[in-house]
């Protein structure tokens, strides 16, 4: 549907110009408190221990809220936020070729992304204004070499939301303020631009009105005032109400010389577009910024469309499709045909409660054969509740706790899509039972298995992809692209082909703005100590063919497929050991490599699609990386 939009865009721009006053085009969203995660009950900047489901009670507004009674309060999960840019950039292939991409780049967690970590942050890290940033940061600041040394990366530590800026403080005179019962009616000389629930500061009335208040209703029509409130005929936007529980029927203050209402300066989503453009333009990454959240988290992902500098002819929108999310909402599913897609120069915030644990992935869903081939693909995984069980506590008991909440339970008898019922030790057992495994003091689990069978010490996201250099060249040069003749010639693990896959640290590429950009932040080396287990979160976003990844030396144990634990309805684990896995674009799979008894040394993950062990014309490289057992 891309090209028709180009025709519509001028029309949209005209409309935009007409109402631009009300638009806040770039905006980042990362609330510090929500209905599900009230900051009064929960520290939203850390993951609390999981002991039991969140206790819910009916709140005053007609929906369930976490029980505000502190003794019952048991809020699970936290708030996570991330910002990404949608635009273009360049990456470097294994044969040294610079390849043009349509791509996403990080606009939060810059330091973490450069270190190969997720760019997903708690509000306390995300809602922090940054230092002065330069195009290509942090690559520019750190003057990288390849491989990038840890010392070089140590100098840049900023992980907040790029562009975040304080809202401008605003103050207006109060014409009249009066309280009827506990409701205060305020009529101001000029509008403050308030919405329901916004904070507002009242001062100078000399009465108990003064202080920090929260708007009950904004935009109140004067003719709806109750008896006792004089309607001075201001427009609705000048009037608002709030509730004052500490005082009743306070006196009317009219045309005071000192009474003012103000919005305090604070983070309300406003941004300074300059750093966003400085950092976001030409800053594409392959794979796109890594995302990782925990079950029960609320996740706010802001996509900021900075435009594609090399393709000024395209008024291209971008979206984020959270591939594999169960019971997805159509609105936040990222399919432009089924929802909305953000235009250039604006931001859209996707909102999800974290779904069931598993290895998902994400990509742009605009003209998928084009935008996926061109590089708009990224990794995403959800960590299980089981990780948050206190060390030494029973995993089986923790899974039984999850069964007590309809949202987190998995009941084979009533839900055909339930994947992790309580585990059964042997197929001949009469019923599921506890194998006595407790939460290990180190390491983590891939799923809520209840038996510790998906334990791992280290985890590595691995994304399989392929680039067709002809398509990328054509994509840069304003020519129509052929889809049916697409033929990948670079075969990528985390956006790199061998030998780049085993280069530690980020790879950078100098782009047309003359700056170095971290183009491929994620190495594909698997490092583990002898005896450890490594979880490989493998996803595939190749758009033209199936790819196989084989292990030379260490067996692959497959424990999950398509973000679901491999377990039957009776509770038997259906894990299997294999030497190779084959995935199509749009699939994911969880593999555990167990190095117990494996001699120290270097092992290989490579493709037995032997023609994929190449980097375009070079008959060497391709879909291969190393496993280091140390």
């Amino acid at each position: 549907m891309r090209k028709p939009y180009q025709v519509w865009m001028p029309i949209l721009l005209v409309a935009f110009a007409a109402v631009a006053a009300s638009a806040q085009s770039f905006r980042v969203q990362c609330p510090t408190t929500t209905i599900t995660h009230p900051s009064s009950l929960n520290n939203n900047n850390a993951e609390p221990t999981y002991s039991a489901p969140t206790s819910l009670v009916m709140g005053p507004n007609g929906y369930l809220i976490p029980d505000p009674n502190a003794t019952n309060a048991n809020v699970n999960g936290a708030i996570k936020c991330q910002q990404i840019s949608g635009g273009d950039g360049y990456s470097t292939m294994g044969d040294g070729t610079q390849t043009y991409m349509f791509s996403f780049g990080p606009l939060s967690g810059l330091a973490d992304i450069a270190n190969g970590l997720p760019g997903t942050q708690f509000p306390s890290v995300f809602n922090v204004q940054g230092p002065k940033l330069f195009p290509g940061d942090p690559a520019t600041t750190d003057n990288p070499t390849i491989p990038v040394t840890p010392t070089q990366l140590a100098g840049f530590t900023y992980n907040g939301a790029v562009g975040l800026a304080l809202n401008v403080a605003n103050l207006v005179s109060i014409y009249d303020i009066v309280e009827i019962g506990h409701t205060v009616y305020v009529q101001t000389n000029s509008p403050l631009g308030l919405s329901d629930g916004d904070p507002v500061v009242i001062s100078g009335t000399g009465l108990a009105y003064d202080g920090n208040q929260n708007v009950l209703h904004a935009n109140v029509l004067g003719n709806t005032f109750p008896a006792g409130v004089t309607n001075y005929g201001f427009a609705a936007v000048n009037n608002f109400t709030f509730t004052l529980s500490t005082a009743t029927n306070l006196a009317d203050v009219n045309t005071s010389q000192t009474a003012v209402a103000g919005i305090p300066a604070g983070y309300d989503g406003h941004v300074d577009p300059r750093p966003i453009m400085d950092v976001g333009v030409m800053n594409g990454n392959i794979p796109a910024p890594l995302m990782a959240i925990d079950e029960d988290d609320e996740f706010f992902l802001t996509l900021t469309n900075v435009g594609m500098i090399m393709r000024p002819d395209l008024f291209e929108q971008h979206t984020v499709h959270f591939h594999g999310y169960p019971n997805a909402s159509s609105f936040y599913d990222g399919v432009p045909d089924a929802s909305v897609a953000i235009n250039i120069g604006a931001s859209f915030t996707y909102y999800y409660l974290a779904p069931d644990a598993g290895t998902y992935f994400w990509h742009c869903h605009i003209t998928p054969p084009e935008h996926l081939q061109m590089g708009m693909v990224g990794q995403l995984y959800v960590r299980p509740r089981q990780n948050r069980v206190a060390a030494g506590n029973s995993l089986f008991a923790a899974l039984q706790q999850q069964e007590k909440d309809n949202r987190t339970k998995c009941d084979s008898t009533s839900d055909i899509l339930c994947s992790n019922p309580l585990p059964r030790q042997l197929p001949t057992d009469a019923a599921p039972s506890d194998n006595g495994v407790t939460r290990a003091s180190t390491g983590n689990y891939a799923y809520n298995d209840g038996d510790g069978s998906t334990y791992y010490d280290v985890e590595y996201p691995i994304q399989i992809h392929g680039f067709d250099p002809n398509f990328h060249f054509v994509g840069m040069t304003f020519n129509p692209e052929g889809f049916s003749d697409m033929k990948d010639k670079y075969f990528l693990l985390n956006g790199r082909s061998y030998p780049d896959t085993v280069t530690p640290g980020p790879l950078f590429t100098q782009t047309v703005d003359g700056s170095n950009h971290f183009s491929q932040p994620l190495s594909a080396i698997i490092n583990m100590m002898q005896g450890q287990k490594a979880l490989l979160r493998i996803s595939d976003l190749d758009v033209s063919e199936y790819q196989t990844l084989a292990s030379l030396g260490i067996p692959m144990k497959v424990v999950g497929y398509n973000a679901k634990l491999l377990r039957d309805q009776a509770g038997n684990n259906l894990y299997y050991s294999t030497n190779s896995i084959t995935l199509a674009g749009g699939e994911s799979l969880d593999v555990i490599l167990d190095s117990t008894g494996v001699p120290k040394g270097t092992y290989y993950l490579y493709t037995p699609n032997l023609d994929h062990l190449s980097n375009d014309a070079e008959n060497f490289g391709g879909l291969m990386t190393e496993v280091h057992v140390n």
């Binding site: 549907m1 891309r2 090209k3 409309a15 109402v19 085009s25 969203q29 209905i35 507004n61 007609g62 329901d196 935009n219 109140v220 029509l221 609705a236 594999g324 019971n327 997805a328 909402s329 159509s330 399919v335 432009p336 045909d337 897609a341 953000i342 235009n343 909102y351 003209t367 998928p368 054969p369 084009e370 996926l372 309809n406 009941d411 009533s414 055909i416 899509l417 994947s419 197929p427 129509p480 052929g482 889809f483 049916s484 003749d485 697409m486 190749d542 758009v543 033209s544 063919e545 199936y546 497929y561 398509n562 679901k564 039957d568 309805q569 009776a570 509770g571 199509a584 674009g585 749009g586």
Partner: protein, 576 residues
């Protein structure tokens, strides 16, 4: 210079395609899918040539199976009003619907051009009865029908499930030309689990007065379009709706060559089949398909009705709809020579079985299901991308609910004066609103834990506010052609969320004043999924080998369809 001119041509082509999408959607008021076919024990088929139409305007010479003119088929499901035709050739071939354990007879007459030689049908997974002497001509894999001749296959219908049938003669060419179809085996009625036909299961169809009936919605109330109550002889294979998708590719160069050679051989005259110079010599490698088909059609044609008159040789569509919570059986067959990773947006699919083989747990002790039935646990995988390999069929169950969204998908607003904005939500044992009182409610199968919970901080319109997010100004985004017009499910919610329903909001804010100032999400670009009548949640179901969602290099097209989850206000009418 040439490149730029070329670009213009392509842009025009794509605009034309977009216009065609729009036209198709305007013409097709409602067009759903079911799994239509012909049902019985005796089928008389022919193999014949015809042209398949593609959305780029091409008519592709093809071969396919159809009904003999002397044969009067029984169409199923019986309440499809357009049981119009079983032409002498269609792609895919007629879906043969039979019942487990019955004797089935399929007679095939070869009406292909003489140059095509013999043809046949393979029924993988089926044990054929022995051929009587003189029944057909011996071939490599099975008995064949020589040009103008007939062959008869007889077998006992095997275990329930979906299977493929296709040509077993010169398959590299004949299957590519379109000679494939589906065999659906329904469970023996005496073996359909009682739990699947009792009123206790979660369905819109049994023993309930549905929303549409209570609210006197024009047209029929919800109807049953299933071929059976269960997919297998197992209580966890009950379902509420079903759809059949057959995937295949076409390389038009093969078809063009076949047609040219057929014409040349006909023009030469005096040819007897199989004689030197009288047979087709069409290279089928290298293979460069540029059409990617679901049920013989490319998007957007696949979303037009079954038996649509504009596709006389492609009668089956791909246009799934469902209400929240409905168990939807999808029957899928890989009929081409490539694998296709088919991604179902919206939820996972439980694979029940492959090629009619139910996949069961090794634990033989029975599970007692919530619907009252009991059986060995299922063990098929849960997949969000269901790969079809050539010749392989699977049956899977999909459903969608708003569980876990953490906001009320219906945009309910307790302070609204619209009664449809303030229904009750009484959770059942699994947290859904499915009790007797809910059966005629707009929010049947709502996920109650999020009932009334807002998503927007300060919404325009009559939906609850105070949620965690702020949507961008509508001028900053572009609406999709299947966008329902608001983040919310159903026409009532969408009207409340976007309309200037003055006075509807009872919370004292100045509803009237807000109207017309900021506007709302304008659903002006919507050409399907009308915000005022349907406003479903649309999900793209498509091949994730993304280059296959194109039609001859034009995006969008190919193996792509939009699945819609519809609120109960909208009657899903599959009769056309």
């Amino acid at each position: 210079m040439r490149a730029m001119n070329m670009k213009k041509v392509i842009v025009r082509t794509q605009l034309l395609l977009a216009a065609m999408v729009a036209m198709a959607m305007l013409l097709a008021v409602s067009a759903y899918a079911a799994a239509p076919g012909i049902k019985g024990t005796t089928f008389s088929l022919v193999a014949a040539p015809a042209y398949l139409t593609q959305p780029d305007g091409q008519a592709v010479y093809s071969w396919g199976y159809g009904c003999a003119t002397t044969f009067t088929p029984t169409y199923a499901p019986s309440n499809l009003s357009r049981t119009g035709f079983c032409n002498t050739m269609q792609v895919p071939g007629p879906t043969l619907i039979v019942t487990e354990g019955t004797q089935v007879t399929v007679t095939l007459t070869n009406n292909l051009p003489n140059a095509a030689g013999n043809t046949s049908i393979l029924f993988p997974g089926v044990t054929l009865n022995a051929f009587a002497s003189g029944n057909g001509t011996p071939g490599l894999l099975t008995q064949e029908a020589a040009p103008g001749q007939t062959v008869t296959y007889t077998f006992t219908a095997p275990s329930p499930g979906t299977r493929a049938y296709y040509s077993g003669t010169q398959s590299d060419l004949q299957v590519e030309m379109g000679m494939y179809g589906a065999l659906i085996v329904l469970p023996d009625p005496t073996k359909v689990p009682g739990a699947c036909t009792s009123p206790a299961i979660r369905t819109n169809l049994y023993g309930v007065t549905d929303w549409a009936t209570v609210n006197k919605v024009p047209g029929a109330p919800e109807q049953d379009y299933r071929l059976a109550a269960s997919a297998y002889d197992h209580p966890d294979t009950c379902y509420d709706r079903e759809y059949l998708f057959q995937f295949a590719e076409m390389d038009p160069r093969i078809h063009t060559q076949a047609e040219a050679q057929v014409l040349a051989i006909q023009a030469k005259g005096g040819c007897t089949a199989g004689a030197p110079g009288c047979s087709l010599e069409v290279p089928t490698e290298p293979y460069h398909p540029s059409y990617f088909l679901i049920n013989g059609r490319s998007m957007p044609d696949d979303m037009d009705p079954n038996y649509a008159t504009q596709y006389p040789h492609q009668p089956y569509n791909g246009d799934p709809h469902m209400h929240p919570g409905e168990l939807t059986l999808i029957r899928v067959i890989g009929q081409g020579r490539w694998q296709h990773p088919f991604h179902e947006h919206g939820n996972h699919v439980r694979i029940l079985g492959r090629d009619g083989n139910l996949i069961l747990s090794s634990t033989t002790s029975q599970i007692t299901y919530a619907n009252g039935g009991s059986g060995t646990g299922l063990a098929g995988p849960l997949l969000f991308t269901t790969t079809t390999t050539p010749g392989l069929a699977f049956d899977g169950i999909f459903y969608w609910t708003a569980k876990g969204l953490n906001w009320d998908a219906y945009g309910h607003n307790p302070s609204s004066k619209d009664s449809n904005a303030t229904p009750a939500c009484t959770p059942d044992a699994n947290g859904y609103n499915t009790g007797a009182a809910a059966q005629s409610a707009i929010n049947y199968f709502e996920w109650c834990q999020d009932h009334n919970k807002p998503v927007q901080k300060a919404p325009f319109g009559d939906v609850a506010g105070g949620g965690p997010t702020t949507l961008p100004d509508p001028n900053l985004f572009t609406n999709g052609a299947w966008y329902g017009g608001s983040p919310y499910l159903g026409p009532d919610a969408t009207t409340r969320a976007t309309g200037c329903n003055t006075g509807a909001q009872a919370n004292g804010s100045a509803q009237g004043a807000a109207c017309g100032q900021t506007g709302s999400t304008p659903p002006s670009g919507t050409i399907a999924n009308s915000p005022s009548t349907e406003a479903g949640f649309a999900f793209m179901w498509h091949s994730h080998n993304e280059r296959e969602i194109t039609t001859n290099n034009i995006f969008p097209g190919g193996m792509l369809m939009m699945m819609l989850v519809d609120s109960r206000e909208y009657v899903i009418d599959e009769t056309n």
